[in-house]
């Protein structure tokens, strides 16, 4: 599931290193925020500070993802194939392969955890809040994982 907003400007946008940082921040801050929020509900006295940190991390993740959605890297994974050249199509193909492998591994790990959690009485998602967070997490990862692979496979920009 790839979301891409076609760019209306001719500008080059953020640099490659900036885009790498934004993608890494979005992919790390979102699950970290969700974990902090979940932990805050498990403490004996719900902590306002932990809630605040959790929401702040999620907000940072969304802020970081926003510039990536319209970037030239997201264009490579989300644009119609007829509008890409041969190098971009090759980059997309490699990125999709890598993202598929990673996503499958993450999904397998989640299933293994769910199986173990039911036996060991560990945390499992319940209720609207948990499933809503999981849904948007899967959406974020499925949109940005291929972009992450493109970003790290792309040669450094030089003049």
């Amino acid at each position: 599931m790839i979301y891409y907003r076609s760019s209306t400007s001719e500008g080059t946008g953020p640099s490659l290193s900036a885009l790498r940082s934004l993608i890494a921040t979005a992919l790390l801050a979102y699950p970290a925020g969700c974990v902090v929020l979940t932990l805050s509900n498990y403490t004996s006295k719900p902590s306002a500070a932990m809630h605040l940190i959790g929401f702040a991390l999620i907000f940072i993740a969304l802020l970081s993802a926003a510039p990536v959605i319209g970037s030239r890297l997201q264009r490579i994974v989300g644009e119609q194939p007829s509008k890409l050249d041969e190098m971009e199509l090759q980059q997309r193909h490699k990125a999709m392969n890598g993202a598929y492998m990673t996503f499958t591994a993450l999904f397998l790990a989640a299933i293994a955890y769910a199986g173990a959690a039911s036996d060991m009485n560990l945390w499992v998602p319940t209720g609207y809040e948990n499933w809503n967070a999981l849904f948007w997490g899967v959406f974020l990862y499925s949109s940005l994982l291929p972009t992450a692979f493109v970003a790290w496979a792309m040669p450094e920009e030089r003049d």
């Binding site: 030239r72 050249d85 041969e86 190098m87 971009e88 040669p155 030089r158």
Partner: protein
């Protein structure tokens, strides 16, 4: 295997920008940059389109061996004459 090319040299000699060359051969200007720096090896189709654009045989544009620099070619020519 690394493929050397003279795209930057021929493009500069033609006075064409990366955008103009990209439009002529049907690729993104950024891809022309990657080609010139040797970060990407073109397909046979793109290689032939580039050689047609510059009106030279494809082996004049691409080689498995490094191309001699223009300075060394000129120096050789002058020493012969």
């Amino acid at each position: 295997m690394y493929i050397h090319n003279r795209i930057a040299l021929f493009r500069t000699e033609r006075g064409a920008s990366r955008r103009e060359l990209g439009e002529a051969v049907g690729v993104n200007p950024q891809t022309i940059g990657f080609l010139e720096r040797g970060d990407y090896n073109p397909s046979l189709e793109l290689g032939l389109k580039l050689s047609r654009f510059f009106e030279v045989p494809v082996e004049t544009l691409f080689s498995f061996d490094p191309f001699p620099s223009v300075a060394s070619i000129l120096a050789n020519q002058e020493s012969r004459s």
